[in-house]
């Protein structure tokens, strides 16, 4: 059985002009032990989707529809207090996008940890201290950081402290939301290494990693889901996405990646024309059709169905559905 199952999830932002359909009918399965990458342009709903998956939403964002099950628990029917007590921090944790400011500024790291652990279990303070020390050692983080205030830590260190704090109670699923975009490459690599080590040490089972940087996903993800304009358009193993992608958008994204590699230099720079749509009024039919080089009549009219093209490989594109690709 998979760890996370999301079916037909819709999450909209209510604004004065109507609804922003940031997540629109998304279904997603995540197996145990898998690191899944979620990629797409900014504003395509990636961040909203992962926060919705753990029901970490506040107005003006609302869950409109859908069923979300995590480790046998039906999250979409729980109220917030139950989620906070039983699920968040214990079954699923998030490393937020703004991890640099995520730590309570006027409290030592260890005091924040104590508050979090006390929220879920009854262990004594001294046990929490020794437990945190052990965990920091295990993850090669300096133990002294526990007795420091957030502002005394460097950006990369703060980022890694947040990851350690999020996984202190060994959640089954860790959601990581664009953690590295503000870091320089060497710090980024350390953070990524820490995330991989978490799974190796069996501290977490699975992870969803959100980023716009496919080269980063390449390094750590087993599977990649591509999101466009509030929908998942393709989902497959990292290698399939990289070498055999079926959706024109996936293909475009991969080709837009610029890394210092001879292959890239040979292939040249290619970009996807146009701009991502406004999710207040998404285009009809396939949402990608205005930017798609292969758009057909049907693409403007009908939404493409999600088709399974291989073992754990789904694509939503009329080209694939009609067998032309």
């Amino acid at each position: 059985m998979s760890l996370l199952e999301a079916e037909h999830v819709k999450a909209y932002y209510r604004v004065r002009e109507g609804f922003v359909k940031a997540v629109d009918d998304v279904s997603l399965h995540l197996d145990r032990g898998v690191i899944m990458g979620l990629a797409g342009e900014s504003g395509c709903g990636k961040s909203t989707l992962v926060n919705t998956l753990m029901l970490n939403i506040r107005p003006p964002l609302y869950l409109i529809d859908g069923r979300i099950t995590l480790d046998g628990n039906l999250l979409s029917k729980m109220d917030k207090q139950t989620l906070k007590k039983k699920v968040w921090g214990v079954l699923v944790s998030i490393v937020p996008q703004s991890a640099l400011n995520a730590l309570m500024p006027t409290q030592k790291i260890i005091d924040l940890i104590k508050d979090i652990v006390h929220a879920h279990t009854d262990i004594s303070d001294s046990e929490i201290v020794s437990m945190s020390r052990r965990r920091f050692e295990e993850l090669n983080l300096p133990v002294e950081a526990l007795n420091m205030y957030p502002h005394e830590l460097s950006g990369g260190m703060r980022q890694r402290a947040v990851i350690a704090i999020s996984t202190l109670l060994n959640p089954k699923l860790l959601i990581v939301d664009e953690p590295t975009s503000a870091l320089d490459v060497s710090t980024q690599k350390q953070v990524l290494k820490l995330l991989v080590d978490l799974r190796k040490a069996k501290i977490i089972e699975s992870m969803i990693f959100v980023t716009h940087d496919i080269a980063v996903l390449r390094q750590i993800a087993d599977r990649i889901a591509i999101m466009y304009a509030g929908k998942i358009v393709e989902s497959a193993s990292t290698d399939d996405i990289l070498y055999n992608s079926k959706h024109p958008y996936t293909y475009g994204l991969i080709n837009a990646v610029v890394t210092p590699e001879p292959e890239v230099r040979k292939r040249g720079l290619i970009s996807i024309p146009g701009e991502p749509p406004n999710l207040l009024k998404p285009p009809s039919g396939c949402r990608f059709h205005p930017r798609c080089p292969y758009a057909m009549d049907i693409c403007r009219r009908e939404e493409p169905p999600l088709v399974e093209v291989g073992e754990g490989w789904t694509v939503a594109c009329h080209l694939v559905a009609s067998g032309r690709r």
Binding site: E41, S42, D184, V185, S186, Q188, K189, L192, K193, V196, H212, D213, I214, A215, V216, R218, Q219, I220, L242, G252, L253, I254, A256, V257, V258, T259, P260, E261, E263, V264, R265, L269, I270, S271, I272, P273, E275, P276
Partner: protein, 263 residues
């Protein structure tokens, strides 16, 4: 030589009674030839933006000089001399939203620079329209709008269109695509190459992304903690990095077709 940067140093002083000195740029020297594409690579805080502003004559260096076509840029005093300089050397910045005064329509960035061209008898409108077409924008789509009504990509293209209008000899582009989606970066990057190819414009391209630098440049400068630590052709830098910082940078950049060991 088009541009010579000689021993450029910038020290910021903070505090009043207890003065503290921060060395942002330390003894930086390099040259740029006509129609050359030079990349300046470094992470945030390495001093690359400070360097760019000093070259653009927007920030006074503590010491050292910037010489453009044998004239010391920081000895230019009159508004006329300055206009001459900015007509030849223009800049593009990282945040395409911050580059526009939010209170005015985007057209302002074009009509502002006609004073630099110094010719009043031109058909301004058609020049602007032409420049917009060069960067792949339809005039009716963008003119008369406010910056917040346009996307990041459109705004940055407008900034490049301003350069097409001026056709400067040198463009300093400070992280011009780092705030733009990866999927549309290439299109904007190509506009710089086109300027270089068509008008022999030299480009100093400032970036934290070694991949981009490797792809577009004739020469790469690596900047670390305020100094240039290595200089060479993209191939030299990638294949035989000398400085430990360059080596680390190269190793830590995530690649698409190669996986890191230990992951």
């Amino acid at each position: 030589m088009l541009l010579e940067v000689k021993n450029l140093t910038k020290i910021f002083t903070v505090g009043f009674l207890r003065r503290k000195e921060i060395v942002a740029v330390k003894d930086v020297s390099f040259n740029v030839k006509e129609s050359e594409f030079v990349s300046l690579v470094g992470e945030s805080g390495s001093g690359k933006t400070t360097t760019a502003r000093m070259i653009l004559r927007l920030l006074r260096p503590t010491s050292g000089s910037v010489v453009f076509r044998d004239r010391d840029v920081w000895s230019l005093r009159t508004l006329n001399d300055l206009r001459w300089y900015w007509r030849q050397v223009h800049g593009i910045f990282q945040d395409p939203f911050a580059s526009f005064n939010p209170l005015y329509k985007v057209d302002r960035v074009f009509y502002q620079v006609f004073t630099l061209l110094g010719d009043n008898d031109v058909d301004k409108e058609s020049l602007v329209n032409e420049a917009l077409k060069e960067v792949g924008l339809r005039p009716e789509e963008v003119l008369g709008r406010y910056p917040h009504e346009l996307s990041g990509g459109q705004r940055q293209r407008l900034m490049i269109a301003r350069c097409y209008l001026l056709k400067p000899k040198l463009i300093l582009a400070d992280e011009p695509i780092s705030m733009i989606d990866a999927s549309t970066r290439a299109g904007i990057l190509q506009l710089f190459s086109k300027l270089r190819d068509e008008y022999k414009t030299s480009i100093i391209f400032i970036t934290h992304d070694l991949g981009l630098a490797y792809y577009v440049s004739d020469r790469v400068l690596i900047m670390h903690k305020g100094s240039i630590v290595e200089e060479g052709s993209p191939e030299e830098i990638m294949e035989h990095p000398q400085h430990p910082y360059t080596k680390r940078l190269r190793e830590d950049v995530p690649l698409l077709y190669r996986k890191w060991s230990g992951f």
